[in-house]
Subunit: 340 residues, 2 copies
Amino acid sequence: VLGEFDLIALLRERVEAAGAPAGDHVILGPGDDAAVTLPRGATATSVDAMVEGVHFRRETFPPEAIGHKALAVALSDLAAMGAAPGEAYVQVGVPDDLRADELAAVADGLGSVARSAGVAIAGGDVVRSPALWLAVTVVGHAEASREFVRRGGASPGDALVLTGPVGGAAAGLLLLERPELASALDAATADRIRDRQLRPSLRLEAGRALASAGASAMIDVSDGLAADAGHVAAASGVLLRVELTHEVLEAGVEQVAAAAGLDPLDLVAGGGEDYELLAAVPQDSVKAALEAVRATGFDPATVGRVEDGEGAVLSGPTGREVSDGGYDQLRPPAPAGPSG
Amino acid sequence: VLGEFDLIALLRERVEAAGAPAGDHVILGPGDDAAVTLPRGATATSVDAMVEGVHFRRETFPPEAIGHKALAVALSDLAAMGAAPGEAYVQVGVPDDLRADELAAVADGLGSVARSAGVAIAGGDVVRSPALWLAVTVVGHAEASREFVRRGGASPGDALVLTGPVGGAAAGLLLLERPELASALDAATADRIRDRQLRPSLRLEAGRALASAGASAMIDVSDGLAADAGHVAAASGVLLRVELTHEVLEAGVEQVAAAAGLDPLDLVAGGGEDYELLAAVPQDSVKAALEAVRATGFDPATVGRVEDGEGAVLSGPTGREVSDGGYDQLRPPAPAGPSG
């Protein structure tokens, strides 16, 4: 078994080899008592953790995906602020039965996301732990704090813009936990849906585009579209009415839901983890906002509007409605076997 | 069982009730996708985690001490940079068998340290976990990055200054794990030694005083004085010769070591967790540095010197010498029973 200093060195080396940048703001990276940065303007800081047996199981999540998802999920909060990504700090709890090559693969996943996001991994720590977990802190930047988009600015009349299709991450979790459901799909679609769960892609540029285009409020879809729309509604003191058409459901989600005997609306409303951005946009900025998001490579849609009132109401393709009060986030089934 | 949103609300409420400040740099605190701060100059950022069954056992650590120690340990890295404390972000992994009142006590410990350090708890997260853990990120400030004291600036001829007595934290761990050893001490001394393990006090002002007084290199004694002196030696390309007299040993450490059949030098060299600061100080600044630390309420001592060479050599009151290569950090014994 490697000691903690060895594990830290291994992690750092692999993250560097994956091409994580040194960081424009970083004066002193890992290895001292603290990292030193020069932020200039305002910073946005967010934390996110992933825990074995709660957010993933090692039986279904390859170690590289664990690293990928942990950093991508944390960065999603920066995307939802419209922040320019800066630095990440990664703490890893390592159980004795995690092999060095598995930890190296976790680092590869972290490093690959860091490279594509342009985020410096400026610090971190490795500690022994009974279960594998990653706790990530990310810092994003803006010239002034007013450039960040909060949850509380939505006004009645604003349109709701979603950066892409939803429901895929929850459907992907179903495919991972119940592989027989994949027979409802062609192989490429099944792979894409599993990747929505395993390897969320980044919407940092889309978030900045929405911020520049005048989004009045923004959040990432992490807890489930119902809960997340509810958070914006509560912070803004408004009602969010979200209308989901077939087109806003990730391709294949309806088939997986049907095979599992579920309503796809429940996967969208309660599943979460899609990490699309939901933004409120004043009507006269909607066209520019949609175009700006498209220019970053995503396929946004308007999915409803902000009204006077409170809470969030989602309606699905069948006309069924659900509200934000009715959902706790769907979670992987309790693990059976040694990893739990 | 409370949901994660309830636990986050509980934690936030208790931390506020304990008097944690809002933070001079904080524009937007907890509750949005990210906290927003306005750092102005340079920042120092460090992370630290404490894990049940590895760094503490719930049988011997009261929940309030778990919160206290997690934040104090993270802040110790800022002290070692000479940073002014700014913000903390706290992630907590909560097992199902942790009661709400125990989590509230963890928050009380966090809040109490935040208040006395003047640190804002600007963000955080609560997640379910098989074991209790806290992962803390702290951010400190300075007007310019050159004000931070790194590990790599020690020069031959510099004196070594220690902000206070060492060995207490390792002796305290022995008392917690083997209560019968306390019969070697009076009750007040035993309490004080246990508190060195449970509730490290903060040396933030002492760290800034040493920085202002011209310390050339600095580190906190977390991994053990041998390893930590070795880190400074390696970063600076010098030899650190540390000479420990009776006076530099925490009162009672020699009795606990004798009762346990150990050499007190081993507790100091390998025990760590004393969170005193070890600074290299140019000779013409030593007097001012000692006075500046005394003015912050601590009792510093010169404990050796920097020489040409490499590595660290510690000698104890008996003349016995140990080097930095020979120690891994002493850890609590593997827990027996349900908490492991």
